[in-house]
Amino acid sequence: MTANKTLNMITQRAVEEGIAMEIGKTSKQYFDACSIIEMNEQDMKELGIMRNTNVRVKSESGEVVVKATVGRQACYPGLCHIRQGVWANQVVPPRTQSTGAPQYSGFPVTVEPAPNDKLKTALELVQGAVGLWKGD
Amino acid sequence: MSELIIKNGYVFDPISGLKGDKADISVKDGKIVDKVSNKAEVIDAAGKTVMAGGVDIHCHVAGPKVNLGREMRPEDKFFRGEYRGGILKQGKRMEMGFSIPSTWKTGYAYARMGYTFTNEAAMPPLLAPHVHEEFRDTPILDQAAMPVFGNNWFCFEYIKNKELENNAAYIAWLLNATKGIGIKVVNPGGTEAWAWGENCTTINDPVPYFDITPAEIVKGLIEANEYLGLPHSVHIHGNNLGNPGNYKDTIDTLKLAEGTKAKNKFGREQVLHNTHLQFHSYKGTSWADFESGAKEVMDYVNSNKNITVDIGQVTLDETTTMTADGPFEYHLNQLNHIKWANVDVELETGSGIVPYIYDKNIKVCGIQWAIGLEIGLYAKDLMRVHITTDHPNAGPFTRYPRVIKWLMSQKAREATLDTMKWKDKVIAASNIASMDRELGLYDIAMMTRAGPAKALGLSSIYSLTKGADANIAIYNLDANKLPSDPELIEAAFQNTAYTLKEGVVVVKDGQIVAEPPKYTLWTKVNMPENAQVMHDIKEKFSRNYTVNLENYAVFDEHVHNARAIELDVA
């Protein structure tokens, strides 16, 4: 078991995310759909992460707490996926290789167990980032 | 009530028989009238040439293919560090692009050349709303578009089954659905074959699966066109475009019109318009022994009055080729290896786009240039031979003034020949050097407005006859004293002294000064609904199309300022 591990992260659409987005970005459905990371079971085992417990994901440009799952659309060992949206974008590097498109797919993140850390809501993350968050 | 009179100009209007006589043209409420009151605003045209607004019978200026060309060529706007065109903003919107200008530049640039009507040469019916959106955003110019029929599954089946009335009813329905003006045919059968990666290179090659030949398709469409009595004839880009030796296929195609007479109420006399004839007048067996076939083709055209043609003059520019002839563009890309776009459109048509450089230092390009001019210079009846560049295929429409210069001046032709690296080979493979004919302003008026307007069945709108729209071009050319420097001829045709659109001055001294409303022209055939055809349409839509029938016809609110040319079929 290791304390943390570097994985290759991607972020893509999911039908659950699409439905939830149309219900509303402040909805519980959106929170449930997007504040999760999908990874390979083997990586979870090595990190000592239990399914449905929280982990901290850090990249060159930020960090976020999300809930760890395996997910139906399997990642191979070393690959992880956070659905497109507010949580993923806390860690997506804005570098574009001079194309305009950020590095949404294929950037290193470190993942570590954070079972006691709380998940933040979408509004807290975004308003918090720009100094507008007033708390619950 | 607004009145205006253009005084003392040399007026050239072949439709009303004015051959450069000094005459006054009166305008009232946007129409040409016999006379106006003494309160009329006066434009002094003394020492200037006056013609009706120019009519472009064949250009690709709006729609999906043109726009994909714009989209895929940023370097057409910004070329080696320079913004091409160099036009300071003069209208409401900026002007962008060289070979495939933005809609705004298209409208402004045509108006500056004294043109007020363009006929978009290929509208894929499924994508018709796109064409009409671009018309909305093209200022000043009246516009029309021809839907393509030469690879349409409905037409294939009706023609194969010899169902003339059904074919005609379907055509009428589609003109209404797309708000189109007439029947365009591009590489009949060949584009459908291209959907399987194949082609039809002669008029007798069978179309895969459909058990029909290009010859049958063209004959069937001519028959339907005359059955309906549409304002324009079938407008064809035949098989085997752009290949050495194709002049024979061209004459074969033209012969399909033999024995058919025009039947319509619009004054049109031809039953077949062969577009961009230059691309179809090639002799030789390969690019190595490539030579002009203009003489052979024009001999045929000259002796057959039921045919009109336009030139498709190569202007020796870097341009963008685009056509519904999908296999041709693929073939071209295999030669030049620059980028290639292709769009096959379900049940109807296809298209391809490839950038192309007509380099005066390449022998073939020089010969192509010569062939186009030969077509104009061999012509006996210039009402039937129209100036185009098949914009943007052989060059951008903004080069029309240069084409006019070449046709009007042997000196100008020689000067261009002198810049060619393979001048001697170009001369050897063509007749251009021996041709001393120089066209005059009346000839040019026939080739750029009267002829195309008549061929389109629109001469009652686009001429200087009484009741016509007051679309007028006034050029800085003294008809009695044409400049000896041909460059001045080009300059005069590039920027008018005045262009009027429905009596409103839109260009003054080469500058855009007003942007009045413009029309979308289309052909409305009034005929009883054909139950069989409506049944066939419903069935194809439910089985094969990916758009619902009810969303296919362009909604009225998406047709900009529609103006229907109506006709009744019992």
Binding site: Q97, S98 | P74, F79, G81, I338, K339
Partner: protein, 266 residues
Amino acid sequence: METVTMTLTSQPELFLECYNVTPDQFAGKSLAEIAALPAHEGKIQWKLGDFFKFDGKAGETAADTKIVVNGDVRRMKRFGQKMSAGEIVINNDTDMYIGGWMTGGKITVKGNADSFLGIAMEGGEILIEGDAQNHVGSAYRGDWRGMSGGLIRVKGKAGNDIGTAMTGGTIIIEGDAFIHVLTHAEGGTVIIKGDVEGRVGGQMVKGDAYIFGNILYPLPGFKKIATVEKEVDGATYTFDQFIGDLGERKTKKKGEIIYGNIYLKK
């Protein structure tokens, strides 16, 4: 050669487009005329004099004019764009399009340059003492005619798209490079003295890449054919020669197939 020294006096709020800072534009002008040349910050058209003070004297011709740029010009782009002769020395880091479309003369940047350095360059020389970003000597979007002549030397490292659609000239990166070297090239030479992550020579028809370090992910489209000695940038080394891109179309010259080459230092 006469020298104009321009020294930054105030920073733009956004970025300033210094497309007029070339020997061609300065030549034959007085300092006051030079200071009156336009420069854009977004939609605002300023004068160069609003941001720089000018000393010295311009030559009669571009070839006779040297421009020295002092101050923090990290927020200034397009120095030397389209220059044909003369010299520019930038004593600091600078931004994008340095030497874009240049046809002659020399540009030296004593610090780093950003992306689109020497884009579609036709001739002349660019020396960057620091790093460059992406699209060194590449083509403008959509153009199949990229850098066609001249020399770009970057002493530090560079990013992606080095010599994309290149047709001639030489690019030397003395440090590491990221991905896409000579992609779509139809000529030209790129020398990378450090390591490359990958994608060297993809879709290349013709051209030569010399890689002194490692290619982490080599393309399957290249095949080793020989070990050769070659003189590169003033010294001779032994290389493994690979030809490709075998997946791309090939041209023939005098009946022989022309390949792109990757020379990987042993």
